[in-house]
């Protein structure tokens, strides 16, 4: 197949899949609510193999049978009021003027390029990055890298797909992974062959024109022996979404000596429940790095986990969470040390302001046999006003004598002495405050890719500005 033709399959405007579907033919998926019919129709639209359809239906059964979690933040979701599949065309067809004032303002202040602004707001379907994309694609092909959206990957590489799909995150893992299994759509599929090193990070940004974003995306990353890849998804600018529920699954497979870095920056609008399941399986001497920045949303429950199954494997989790206004951020990390000489590092920094609630909920388990495992957990929180809250719920389980686990946490206010010191240098109180907040986040900021980090800095200043600081 020539390259142009292959692109045709992927690009939505050329993609026949979406265009010929009419409401008459698939009546159920245009309704709110979830039943067998909806799931069957989603599968039919996507022309999926029989096994996938069966898997979706089984997941639906599990989803219906599982109770809502009886712990954690209040989840007041009416599953019958949600549309579980939205045609790609439909998501994008919106006018700039329809966006909420706050989001428009944020775009302006972040100084996003005109085209990107339009794309993010949904008023334009395709971002003109075809040239860049084609170029990258050529490089990938030469190295044997597969980088597609998950739906296309299922059609093109069914064998690899079936091996890894819902493997480290089983369908029945939790209620929301089952939901994702039933109605998943979109996401990224990345396969890096043995000993291939990708110098440039893969970004959803580069292939925004593929139908990668949605509410139930399923992302799979496979790094074969000795490979290395860095993947970046999301966007610092607030994402406006018509639906009130976002539930993604991310599965990462790190083979021997491989290295994967997964960076995600998400800023959802303030009426969205963001309930994700993210998990990595790390084999011998593999290295997994999670870097996350989480802003916005109504309730976020996000606990990326690393299963260190191979000797000498390691994981690091770096998270920033900003709970501002009517937001509940339930962030955390989970690391299971299942082999000797494994190591992990968790650093979580959360900020609560304007009545926001931020929670760290984490687990580190070192079972017997994980000889010389080492783990360090640090969860710091900053509370900026009297109406905000911070809760910290770490679980540290050590069952191995030769292991070492250290944990430290602090929660509290901006130090008066620090504030005073900066102010004696001639800065206003607001400037001093935002300086301290950005300093608090600095450990993690420097791990986030430059362009994101600049935007994130701007965004946090912006939030502080609304709060009273000038930035």
């Amino acid at each position: 197949m020539d390259k142009r033709e292959e692109l045709k399959d992927i690009l939505p405007e050329d993609n026949g899949q979406g265009n010929f579907i009419t409401k008459a033919r698939y009546p159920h998926i245009f309704q709110e609510g979830l039943d067998r019919k909806v799931v069957e129709e989603i599968s039919e639209i996507k022309k999926e193999p029989e096994w996938m359809k069966r898997l979706r239906l089984k997941a639906l059964e599990i989803f219906n049978s599982k109770p809502m979690p009886n712990w954690g933040p209040p989840l007041d979701i009416d599953f019958n009021k949600i549309r579980y599949y939205v045609l790609p065309d439909e998501i994008k067809a919106r006018r700039w003027e329809d966006l909420p004032q706050e989001i428009r303002e944020t775009y302006e202040k972040l100084g996003l390029p005109e085209m990107e602004k339009k794309y993010l707001s949904g008023s334009v379907a395709v971002l003109d990055s075809e040239g860049v994309y084609a170029n990258l694609k050529k490089q990938f092909e030469e190295k044997g890298v597969i980088y597609l959206d998950t739906d296309t990957a299922l059609q093109k590489y069914p064998d690899i797909f079936r091996e890894y799909f819902m493997n480290i995150v089983p369908i029945g893992d939790n209620k929301f992974s089952a939901l994702n299994g039933a109605v998943w759509s979109g996401g990224s599929f990345i396969y890096v062959p043995e000993n291939v090193h990708l110098d440039l990070p893969l970004m959803t940004y580069f292939r925004m024109n593929i139908q990668a974003e949605g509410q139930f995306e399923h992302t799979i990353i496979i790094a074969e022996k000795g490979a290395s890849v860095s993947y970046i998804e999301g966007c610092t600018a607030p994402i406006y979404n018509t639906s009130s529920l976002h539930s993604a699954v991310v599965e990462v497979y790190v083979k021997e000596n491989a290295k994967v870095r997964f960076t995600t920056v998400q800023n959802w609008s303030h009426d969205i429940y963001n309930l994700n399941t993210e998990r990595a399986k790390v084999e011998k001497n593999g290295k997994m790095e999670w870097v996350g920045g989480s802003l916005g949303s109504k309730v976020t429950m996000l606990y990326p986990s690393s299963y260190l199954v191979g000797e000498g494997s390691s994981a690091s989790h770096l998270t920033i969470a900003l709970a501002s206004g009517n937001t509940w951020k339930d962030n955390g990390a989970k690391v299971l040390h299942l082999a000797p000489n494994t190591s992990s590092k968790i650093i979580s920094k959360s900020i609560s302001m304007k009545g926001g609630v931020s929670v760290y909920r984490g687990l580190v388990r070192i079972p017997k046999g994980a000889l010389n495992a080492k783990s360090h957990v640090q969860c710091d929180a900053l509370i900026l006003d009297e109406n905000s809250k911070n809760f910290t719920y770490p679980h540290n389980e050590v069952y191995e004598e030769t292991s070492t686990l250290t944990h430290e946490a602090s929660a509290g206010k901006i130090g008066e002495e620090q504030l005073f010191y900066i102010m004696t240098r001639g800065l206003s109180e607001d400037e001093a405050r935002s300086m301290i907040v950005l300093g608090f986040l600095d450990d993690i900021m420097r791990e986030i890719p430059l362009e994101f980090s600049i935007e994130l800095n701007k965004l946090i200043r912006l939030q502080l500005g609304r709060y009273g600081g000038t930035g």
Binding site: P69, N70, W71, G72, P73, V359, R361, L363, I366, K368, A381, I383, L384, D385, E386, N387, S388, K389, N390, F391, T392, Y393, P394, H395, N396, E397, V398, Y399, E400, E401, T402, S403, T404, L405, T406, H407, E408, A409, S410, A411, G412, K413, I414
Partner: protein
């Protein structure tokens, strides 16, 4: 007969006033209500629950367990294996009262009531519903007890629920040491309620040698303004031990310091919760649990520090440290923080490490055998508590592995 009927019968047999019977029933219902949904719950939580409550309730003796009070050299011996009078009034105590908690029903009904209301955890609720015996210590206002009170408690060979009540008036000071001994046939709940008045302070040391028993030890402190509570405890040989500390810092400038040492061995299981609630300005807490784990033992160290909005300039610190001495030892740390408002600072830390083999080698190279060398390291690890035992007793007998 339902359990509630049993409690009514239990209370009637002891000629208790009606308000007490009602409070008992209230607490018993609370025991079941208290396990409602809380945001600190997680799917992991249920794995930690211990104790067979049904079996426990069935084995509570029907008749009153009085216990006997004796004065022996420096010690007040409270022997629950015997049935005598739990009352004493030695001259050495001057105006301080030391008597059975049953006297408090008549003498200080309001104090007893307030100690039985608002149980924060299930075990306090159960203890309040079923208590049968215990001591009552009252220190009047403006009384500084320079003499260290020393108690020796001997537990019986059956189930017992004990409630101790300490009331310290304003501007007073009390220090006491308590040794508890039990055998493997003992199962019980011991609850201690402590009221510390304005500008008063309490310093005490608890040492428990369980002898293979099963126990729930609860300590509830209620602090008035500028009150201080210093508590050091050391525990060993308890097969299954739930230790709960609830401290409510509801007076301004009140502070607590809780330091615990646990020597776990064999199949022992310790579940230590430290719950501290900062509910007034300028309060301070410093809590530390240190556990050394030998054999197949397990320690769960929970901390729950809550800081309310009305706690400006408060300072909270909790640390749980575990030293794993054997390959089958298990340690869990759950140091929780719940902070509201932007005026307080809370910190916590947790560690789980093994013996530093370089240190062990160094000590052994000085001609000390491995067991003793390990004990030296254990002693160093448990130093905050060991130091206090040395101050009070000049002995270190409790803090060794045999």
């Amino acid at each position: 007969m339902s359990i509630e009927d049993k409690i009514i019968k239990f209370s009637r047999l002891r000629n208790e006033p009606e308000w007490l019977t009602n409070l008992r029933l209230l607490n018993f219902r609370r025991y079941f209500d208290i396990k409602k949904k809380s945001i600190s719950d997680s799917p992991l939580e249920k794995r930690y629950t211990t104790f067979d409550i049904e079996e426990f309730l069935d084995n509570i003796p029907e008749e009153t367990q009085k216990g006997k009070f004796m004065e022996e050299k420096d010690y007040f011996v409270i022997d629950y294996t015997k049935n005598g009078k739990l009352e004493i009034n030695p001259k050495s105590l001057k105006s301080t009262t030391l008597t059975s908690i049953r006297s408090a029903i008549l003498m200080y009904p309001n104090l007893l009531k307030s100690s039985m209301e608002n149980a924060n955890d299930e075990w306090t609720a159960l203890g309040n519903a079923l208590w049968d015996t215990g001591i009552f210590v009252n220190v009047p206002e403006e009384r500084r007890c320079e003499r260290i009170m020393k108690f020796k408690t001997i537990f019986p060979e059956h189930v017992i629920v004990k409630k101790d009540l300490f009331n310290i008036g304003a501007n007073s000071f009390l220090q006491f040491v308590e040794y508890s001994n039990a055998t493997d046939k003992f199962t019980g709940i011991e609850e201690t309620s402590i009221f510390i008045g304005k500008n008063s302070s309490l310093k005490h040391l608890t040492m428990i040698d369980g002898g293979g028993s099963k126990m729930v030890s609860i300590k509830n402190s209620h602090m008035m303004s500028q009150a201080r509570d210093e508590w050091y405890y050391a525990v060993k040989n308890v097969e299954k031990h739930i230790i709960i500390t609830n401290a409510e810092l509801s007076g301004e400038y009140s502070s607590i310091e809780h330091k615990g040492a646990i020597l776990a061995n064999g199949m022992e299981h310790y579940d230590v919760s430290t719950n501290i609630f900062h509910n007034a300005h300028h309060t301070k807490s410093d809590a530390n649990v240190r556990a050394t784990l030998e054999g197949n033992s397990r320690a769960i160290m929970r901390g729950s520090i809550k800081v309310s909005k009305n706690a400006n300039d408060s300072n909270a610190y909790f640390a749980g440290n575990a030293l794993l001495l054997s390959e089958n030892a298990k340690s869990n740390a759950l140091p929780f923080l719940e902070i509201e408002g932007d005026r307080a600072v809370a910190k916590h830390a947790a560690t789980a490490t093994n013996v530093d083999y370089d240190q062990l080698f160094y000590i052994q190279s000085r001609g000390i055998n491995e067991r003793s060398a390990k004990n030296l390291l254990v002693e160093g690890f448990l130093d905050p508590v060991v130091r206090q035992i040395l101050i009070y007793e000049g002995t270190r007998y409790l803090i060794y592995y045999d």
